[in-house]
Subunit: 219 residues, 2 copies
């Protein structure tokens, strides 16, 4: 591989990691804005959105240029096309963090339903999955990518658990319904963030091993 | 453009339209399985999933080969990289149709809450958006793509309307909660299918005009 391409691929990795860190911080702040009822923090997540979008477009354009000028081959080519798919997932995770913040602003208008325990737990797991999925990508680490896909069940289970608990609240006291449903949305958004991390991890396994694991549980 | 590349790009368009038609049919059947309480039909949607996945992988590999062997330039290059992103959106729309079918199987276990009116309306709109977005892509028709992005509000509004109506059911009779929430999930899945169509349409506008409209409403 030529020295120029090597340098450009490294820059691409660095930018992707930067975008990943930005989105991770959005997810963290969005959930904190809910847990600590901090509307300023929620607003700050919504504010960061344009930075995420700008970086997404920039990385996409970098990839197009790389393809047009360097004609990468074999695994380098697959690396670049996978990066273009991953960047879309990252941007959508950022959008979901914005959605969480918007729900937080609404939920914070009403009295606290109950202290949040499982939601922060879910958020931690989803953030770790995002971080690991990106690390797996830049280091072509299929084992780490598989670890991410295995964590998805944990997040799904938490989502169901949260939902069942909220259902009990609603059944007992219909006045909690609108709050409970908004909280269930936050839980669902976190589940979708974890899904995106899983999608990334599955692409990494395919990139490294040529094996398609994304559809294995759906045969 | 060489005659070989022209032929290969045409084949790529044909396959994408075939995948689009398959997903459109999944969306239609999933909602019909709910409305007509037809569990066999729901199962058939789940069955088609592997075909969608196979076609997704095939198109992805076609694109990689095209990039590796033909080195498309300028707008052809962007067309191929955009196709690789679109195919991911299509596959996820197929997954959402499977989700709808799974909820339909659950909802069909319980008595009918009320006849479905807005859900089929949403489904029709979402399917039209999917169809138009793909047509806009293969014909590089930015005007049609913009029409798709404008339909997104209509679907979002229907989703909110359905949600408010279900909330009234739940408040009046807590026994309806589990059914109502599952129906609200179906509505949310349809909204996400429309979101994917919007994503595709936004990519088409960017492809044709170089303008980024996907983040305009979020500044």
């Amino acid at each position: 591989m030529g020295r120029i391409m090597e340098k450009e691929l490294q820059e691409l990795k660095d930018k992707l990691l930067r975008l990943g860190a930005l989105v991770e911080s959005q997810v963290e702040r969005s959930v904190t804005s809910l847990v600590e009822r901090d509307n300023m923090l929620a607003a700050s997540v919504i504010d960061t959105d344009h930075e995420v979008n700008r970086l997404e477009v920039e990385i996409d354009e970098d990839c197009i240029l790389l393809l047009a000028l360097r004609h990468p081959e074999a695994s380098d080519l697959r690396f670049v096309t996978t990066a273009m798919k991953i960047v879309t997932d990252l941007e959508r995770m950022g959008d979901l963090a914005v959605d969480i913040s918007e729900r937080a602003l609404e939920i914070n208008e009403e009295p606290l339903l109950k202290p949040y325990i499982d939601i922060p737990r879910m958020a931690r797991a989803a953030r770790q999955m995002l971080k690991d999925a990106l690390d797996a990508f830049v280091n072509k680490d299929a084992a780490l990518a598989r670890k991410v896909t295995e964590s998805d069940d944990y997040v799904d289970n938490l989502n169901h658990q949260i939902f069942r608990e909220l259902l009990l609240f609603m059944l007992e006291d219909p006045h909690t319904i609108s709050r409970a449903i908004r909280i269930s949305y936050v839980s669902k958004y976190l589940e979708r963030i974890a899904d995106h991390a899983t999608n990334i991890a599955e692409m990494v396994v395919y990139l490294v091993e040529g094996k398609i694991i994304r559809h294995m549980d759906k045969a």
